[in-house]
């Protein structure tokens, strides 16, 4: 087992911690990495894992938890679902939407702002990333663009490409492999 991350501030001492809390502390890093696949940054994943901790701590010590790991991951998955819902609420994550979506406020058109966590990266790096995306084989590249760059879900990407959802997942995995190899420096 990989060493767990730093316990969140205010973590109870092991003596008075519930078994679920202890399991959480032990699996904190794994849970963080699990959540991070669905978040847009490690910082966002850290926020979620902190939120998870609060929920875990709220589970009373009297609750009988026979299998803490499945429960912890289930709770983490629920957090992700909540997060997806909130993302859909302010869902204008991609440049296409930024360009094309206009919101009317008080009779005046305003252009939606980019998500706050979409920071500017160096132009050179953006070019490198674009180069790497361009170098992907066509189908793989299309799946990656639709899903990761245009913010469509795997299912929406599958529908647009007229392929199965599972195939999209495989394209994305292969694309990540290509990109990691190419951009490693």
């Amino acid at each position: 087992m990989a060493p767990s991350g730093t316990p969140p501030t205010g973590a109870p001492k092991e003596a008075d911690a519930s078994p679920l809390t202890l399991a959480f502390l032990e699996k904190r890093e794994s849970l963080l990495l699990f959540l991070a696949a669905r978040t847009r940054s490690m910082a966002a994943a850290e926020d979620l894992v902190q939120e998870l901790y609060l929920k875990v701590a709220a589970v009373g010590p009297e609750t009988d938890v026979r299998a803490p790991a499945p429960l912890l991951y289930r709770m983490a998955a629920n957090l992700l679902i909540d997060q997806v819902r909130s993302a859909q609420r302010d869902g204008r994550r991609n440049a296409e939407w930024r360009k094309e979506t206009q919101i009317t406020l008080g009779g005046e058109d305003i252009v939606a702002e980019p998500p706050a966590d979409e920071q500017l990266i160096a132009k050179d790096r953006a070019r490198q990333l674009a180069d790497a995306v361009e170098a992907l084989p066509p189908q793989m590249g299309r799946a990656f663009r639709l899903h990761k760059l245009e913010g469509r879900s795997q299912q929406e990407t599958a529908d647009l490409m007229k392929i199965s959802r599972k195939m999209v997942e495989q394209h994305i995995a292969a694309a990540i492999r290509h990109l990691t190899q190419r951009l490693r420096s």
Binding site: E29, A37, M42, P70, N94, E96, L129, E134, I176
Partner: protein, 323 residues
């Protein structure tokens, strides 16, 4: 085997289950390198999330740039706002670099020379990610700078798998001519004053060293093979199966109606032990087929099954005689 990339894609999928989550937990716990690899993959994943808008704009700009220069011929002013769809855009992307070469001097060029001896192949990855496979008895120099990627192929044959970089054209220069590309895969063979260029993917422009510099280069698309020099008055273009030309990388030689002399010359590059044709009547025998390059004895005994020849060992190596 599920790796870090597969896990990111799986956990990002809408139907991931509790079983997936527990399998992921077990995978992380199995070895510390798993978590490390996963973190590296996540870093890129998050970088793309943060840069999605910028990368999209960069890609959109490129597509527009490609469309913009699709129409004009060489030297004519570009027209803005002309949009072409699909295949035309892809072709134009290859054209852009050929047209719009930045003439600036390279700031700090690096030079690397690679050479293979008889019987050797070499697989080289350049700093830009382009890959070169050198066939036997090949010598080339790679010059990489901020403005260009230039290969000088002194002698021999190589397959180039070029990464796309519109700001830095990729050029292969030989004594007989120059090959210029964007992102593509092709084979260049320059032996005995003869140049052969075979394209598997993308588009390349070939300009003969003897041609008027203002003349248009010859453009090759996948499946086309250009031959230059070797006594030809001008370049000849044929349609071939590129994979046959590329087969040497996998230890195979593919021939379609080639004379035995050519085959023997190729084999002699692949093995230290030399093969000689001991009977001039054999020179003109023509061969169609695939030769697997394991060792000269096996190759010649297989040749003997295909052709009316026999091989005997001599001081000079293997001698091919009429059966």
């Amino acid at each position: 085997m599920i790796d870090a990339a597969a896990w990111v894609a799986r956990l990002d999928a809408p139907d991931f289950s509790e079983d997936d989550a527990l399998a992921f937990d077990a995978w992380l716990a199995a070895a510390p390198i798993n978590a490390a690899a996963y973190r590296r993959t996540l870093a890129l994943w998050h970088e793309f999330a943060a840069a999605a808008g910028q990368v999209r704009e960069e890609l959109a700009d490129r597509a527009e740039e490609a469309n913009r220069v699709a129409r004009p011929a060489f030297g004519q002013p570009r027209r803005r706002g002309v949009l072409f769809a699909g295949a035309a855009a892809a072709v134009a992307a290859a054209l852009v670099v050929v047209v719009a070469l930045p003439p600036t001097a390279p700031p700090e060029a690096t030079h690397q020379t690679f050479a293979t001896a008889r019987g050797q192949h070499q697989h080289v990855t350049l700093a830009d990610g382009s890959v070169i496979d050198l066939n036997a008895e090949t010598r080339l120099t790679a010059t990489m700078s901020g403005s260009q990627r230039r290969i000088t192929l002194a002698e021999g044959e190589a397959v180039f798998d070029v990464t796309s970089d519109k700001t830095r054209p990729f050029t292969v220069a030989t004594g007989q001519g120059e090959v210029r590309v964007v992102g593509t895969q092709f084979d260049v063979k320059s032996r005995d004053g003869e140049l052969t260029v075979t394209v598997a993917r993308g588009k390349v422009a070939v300009r003969s060293a003897s041609a008027d510099p203002s003349a248009e280069p010859v453009f090759l698309t996948p499946g086309m093979q250009l031959s230059l020099g070797g006594g030809r008055p001008e370049e000849a273009v044929a349609h071939v199966d590129p994979q046959a030309t590329f087969a040497w990388r996998e230890g195979r030689l593919v021939y379609r109606d080639q004379p035995l002399t050519t085959v023997v010359a190729d084999l002699n590059r692949q093995f230290p032990e030399q093969i000689a044709i001991g009977d001039p009547n054999l020179d003109k025998i023509r061969i169609t087929g695939v030769i697997v390059l394991d060792n000269p004895q096996a190759v010649t005994s297989r040749l003997a099954l295909m052709l009316p020849i026999r091989a005997i060992s001599s001081e000079r190596g293997l001698l091919l005689l009429k059966k």
